[in-house]
Symmetry: C5
Subunit: 354 residues, 5 copies
């Protein structure tokens, strides 16, 4: 069976505060993409090296820097220097085993969250860590892998769809988080359908694979929950903390995000308890079927054991067995046997065994 | 078996803040009904198109706008524009997968809640989302389907029963919520009777359908709980938050509502734990009956196995078996057999097996 | 089996705020009893009609009005009018399905609580709703049924026992609540003895009635808990809320009440978990006994199956079976059989089966 | 089995606020012991009657009054009068069914707690209620029974060991509580060793006594928890509440006490969940052994049933059975039988049954 | 099996506030190591006796005193005197059964925490108590045993790696705690792999050792949790409490520590629930296999019992059994037997038993 729980690399002897890449995806190239935009203009640039970045920083009103591939620790460090990011946060960005969390400070908001997706080749859930560092007019996003999950947001930026071009980078950040959390709900929906399909199977045609299936779903759900529970805590903290980076106008969007992630967490908890109940029902059903098996065995044994004994008696070789002499002895024996069978069957009928 | 958990439509690639209808009920017509009223007068109007609405807004002291059918997203958007409703709230109104919640702001209260009802044709619980947007003197309600659940309140308005005509739209809103929550309690009562009937069956005449029944009730309860738990949270927030829309005079009504929804939530939790206990009792009972079956099998086997062996011995064809020669050998064998049977039965009697 | 969970009457189409009697006890007569008292004097009056009440209100320094029988809604309404009781509270008084609760307001305290008692004829727990409306110098109590539960307090009033005559009606209210809560503890004590008696039975002589008994106690406890849990919340709220009706001198009494109800709630939770554990132990014990049964069956089968086979072999009618010719063949067979039996028994001895 | 849960006496018709002794220990004599002390001097006095007490009250700088035996209600009442103790507190002192609790008021601290000890004759846990009433320079302690649990503290007072002579009575009170809570930890330690010994037994040599043992420990733990849980709450309240009776210098001691009682509560919870897990493991183990039993039965049955049938076939008395005529028929039958046996055994080998 | 839960020594009769060594490790020598350092210089000293310590205290800007071996209570007392450590804290330092905790006061922070490690010889988890007493420029650490766990930090100090030389002792303390908590995560990772390996075994090839393994892991996890749960609480308190010893610059490090310990606690809880689920799955699987065994037994019994009976019938010695006379009787019997077998097998096929 597939391993869902990511193995952590040993970071035991690492000095705290020094970024070390912990992850499995070794992308050939890291990719640095910039989108500078305001209400009227938008420019997309892909940088060759990180050194070019400096030239662009103050060029645009709003800037989104997206970095794919975290194994280039040097690059991350340079970005950190450029924007004054605390070394512990840099460490968290490259350490992809990080628990999702949100740091809201006066002049920046750091968010680390897991993107979940279904790897269709391996038929398993996978998680990718997305880190976001939000400054007044700059949003820096770090992805473990090159991917197109944020393409829909990019399209909106390009086409001026919705209000993303008119609002600040805080709103852009909300849009990206919304994509991620919406995806949670989409996955839970897919998952939910499988769990519900299981429900019928358990009662009507349970077999050993059913047990394996329940178990598999439990593991998947545990994996999902591990990502979503701290994500919920993290997103919830947007509501409590006040920061100039989230204005009153933007607050409702984060509240909405909170409802969204709460809904997917509710689903996780709901399916978790459903699976537990399904296991109990399955197990009770297994016992029920054991009862059925034993009933059959018992009926046959109880019916045939006495009559086999009767036949055994008249198979003995005693010299003087009076019954054997009677011409109708054999037929009388059959009569007794049939009577015994009828009594036994009557007894089981009375006990409502069939 | 029926599917109780509503399938969500994929809203994955939807821009946040743009209302998209998510639901299955495609009503042929949306229906816009207005009731304008004050202490002395009441007028009911049914609009053809949403454009007429503007003419009525300031005509009455208190106005209740009821919109049935949410698939006409354009209409909802127009209503939103007219009353300055935030686009995220509009999205929540048309997205019928929304978790129940309450937004209490200075000048408006938005409430999204599930109406539960028993679809008698399909023999299953169904949920309908009701959204309410309360302004100072205007209450706008959105229903997924055309229905008459609020007819009793309309009657009261028409007949000046109770104080609904004399109080503000906040009180009207309370009346509508009261109808919904009261209905929860009515459903739980019906449900409770079925669960209690089950209780006797489990101990006295359990069978495989009993397991299916327990399971079915568990699923129904899960479904119900999914709607009622966030509803409880939502209604509870009426107590904590202060808003000019709920005056001191109206506060007790919302406290009362809170007690009502808490009672139905208590029932849900109560029946949930009752069903779990019933499953345990059922399962223990199944084991008890396995014991009974095995006792019967064991009694028969243990009694007949030794005597069948005895008969087998004297069925052997050895040339010299002394016992066979005695004239009374056969009867002595019977004696030994009877003695064996009595000893065995005595043993089971001693063990209190029957 | 008896139904413990009270069925609620359908109050679905009732206008909120209008009192409707929901209950089963139709007393022939409602009974209105007044006790007016101060340190020196005490007068007991039984009213014929509610209209006489007005004459007595300001006659005494302290007044206790006790109304038995709630089906006379008109009467309750009139009392409400006389003392300015909110219609929602009146509704709660006559609706005997109400959750216990306390409303502490500036000038009144409303308390709704369940009196539990053991109906000795029906051998079941029953609950009666007691509502108390406390004003500065007046205490109005409403009982579903005529009963003598408060007789002990009346005696104390008459005989000037304790400080009830010297203190205000707040203290009188405390005395009545104390009677009710003390009774919870008394019932739990009786219940606890039955549960503990069960404990021995489960291990030493479990049978099918034991399962029924556990189940019965679980249902009773659920019923009790349904009444006592909200009562605990309610009584607890006396501590938190400040009101001029409870003076500093009286506060310790309500704290004490709180400890008392907490103790009975602790007992409920304790017995609940004890019953769950007992069910698990019972179930494990059932399995243990299945093991014993199967051991007996297996020992007999395993011992006799091989020797029956041996006898079967020599019962075959082959023309040439050398062993049959030997004069001692029969005895050798017996020897082999005995050896087989000894080996088998030795094996079970080794396995520690007996 | 021993009854661990103390039976409560019926205090149903008792007027609240009047002390009534509820307990089983009827000591022949109550014993009143005084220790008056300051940094330099210490005097121990044993009073004959309570009336002498008055003479000693103001004689010493610090005074510890210890009263053994609570059945002399009159005595307790007199002490109460002398020190102005609220009647409800007096009631709690003599009612030994009281939940542990702490009342911190401006001028006094009342503490009621359970001393646990192992009655070595009856092999059971027993609880004794200790009440402490702390005033500025006076500590009054009430014990159900004469006992020497506080002897170690008395020794320290006499020998000036530690700082008990130099500090106020608040510190003395802490010392006494420390003795009690330390004893909890000592008992839990003893208990823990028994639970751990059980752990091995369950896996390696489970029998029916093991189930009884698990059950016995569960009951003992429930009993212990009933005393320790409210004690934890009570001791915790020392931290939160500010009173002039606990100075800043003494605060760390009570914090320490809190850690100590928390540790013993952690142990209770820990052992409780260990016992639950042990029951599950035991139960699974029972099932495992059922499997083993059934395997043996099945192997024997499946091997012998077919060959017994073969022998049965050749035991029939048909006139024409060709095989019987062959001289080697008998040996061929043996060959077939051996082959069948080998096939069966091979099958079970393949199934890894042995 | 190994004992994981440390036995506590009896500290029952100990005067509170007097340090007594409670632990098993009797090191031959205690070892006192000093590291004095600032940005530019570093000096390491190993003291012979505690008396030399005084000379070094004010010599360095920052001082780390590390004491290995706690059995020398006198030494600890002297250190306490030198730095004004409260006697209760000294008691906690030498009592190695202490719950992890943090005391944050104005001028000092005391931290007691458990270092966990895997004893490779005994194949079991072991815990060592580390106490840290932090003053403005001095950090005193106490270890139960001589060990090299902090060697990595010492190396960093020596080599000026990271910022440890430039920051205050508060940062040094953070580094040490980071080593300990990082180690928790490393252990949980190792543990997690074993639990996941178990997962496959349970479904595919469960045996009795599997149950023992689950049980063993449960005990280990309990042991781990006992150390880590209070550690989490303790480290969490760094966030809440304000002290001049933790400056704003250092706060993020402690927040990070909090995330780290939370992650390992999440893992503990996660594996705990995984093991519970595994036990349920295992148990259900055991039942499934019982079903398989019973199926085999039943198939064989039900097929052979009737045909053995048929053979038995024709083994009877009645003088007149018509069937025996027919020449083809024997073959007809075989036909009937085969037919019976086919019907039985068909029935099981229909029941989907194989």
């Amino acid at each position: 069976m597939a391993r869902f729980i990511t193995k952590q690399k040993n970071t035991k002897n690492v000095i705290p505060g020094s970024p070390v890449f912990v992850g499995n995806q070794k992308e050939e190239n890291t990719r640095i993409r910039l989108i500078g935009y305001d209400e009227n203009e938008l420019e997309e640039v892909e940088l060759e090296t990180i050194n070019e970045l400096e030239n662009y920083i103050s060029k645009y009103k709003r800037l989104w820097i997206n970095i794919d591939g975290l194994h280039d620790v040097e690059l991350v460090r340079k970005v950190g220097e450029l924007f004054g990011i605390h070394t512990l946060i840099l460490e968290d960005i490259v350490n992809t085993d990080q628990r999702p969390r949100v740091d809201i400070e006066e002049h920046y908001i750091f968010t680390s969250i897991k993107m979940m997706f279904l790897n269709k080749e391996k038929h398993q859930l996978e998680a990718e860590q997305i880190s976001m560092y939000l400054l007044k007019n700059v949003l820096i996003t770090f992805q473990e892998k090159q991917g197109d999950i944020f393409e829909s947001v990019r399209e909106r930026l390009r086409n001026k769809t919705g209000r993303v071009r008119n609002y600040n980078t805080t709103y852009l950040k909300y849009c990206l988080l919304d994509v991620i959390v919406d995806n949670y709900n989409f996955l839970m929906e897919t998952f939910g359908e499988k769990v519900e399909d299981l429900e019928d199977k358990i009662l009507l045609q349970p077999n050993k694979n059913t047990l394996q299936e329940i178990n598999k779903y439990k593991i998947e759900l545990n994996y999902f929950r591990k990502a979503i529970r701290p994500a919920r805590e993290a997103i919830n903290s947007f509501r409590a903390l006040k920061t100039e980076l989230i204005t009153k106008k933007e607050q409702p969007f984060f509240n909405d995000l909170n409802d969204l992630v709460q809904r997917s967490y509710d689903s996780v908890e709901n399916y978790k308890s459903m699976l537990s109940e399904q296991l109990t029902v399955y197990s009770t059903n297994v016992n029920n079927r054991l009862n059925d098996i034993m009933k059959i065995l018992t009926i046959f044994s109880v019916v045939f054991i006495p009559i086999t004994f009767i036949a055994g008696i008249y198979g003995t070789n005693f010299e003087y067995i009076p019954e054997l002499r009677y011409r109708s002895g054999y037929f009388v024996m059959w009569g007794v046997i049939l009577l015994t069978v009828l009594i036994m069957l009557g007894y089981f009928k009375y006990k409502k065994w069939f």
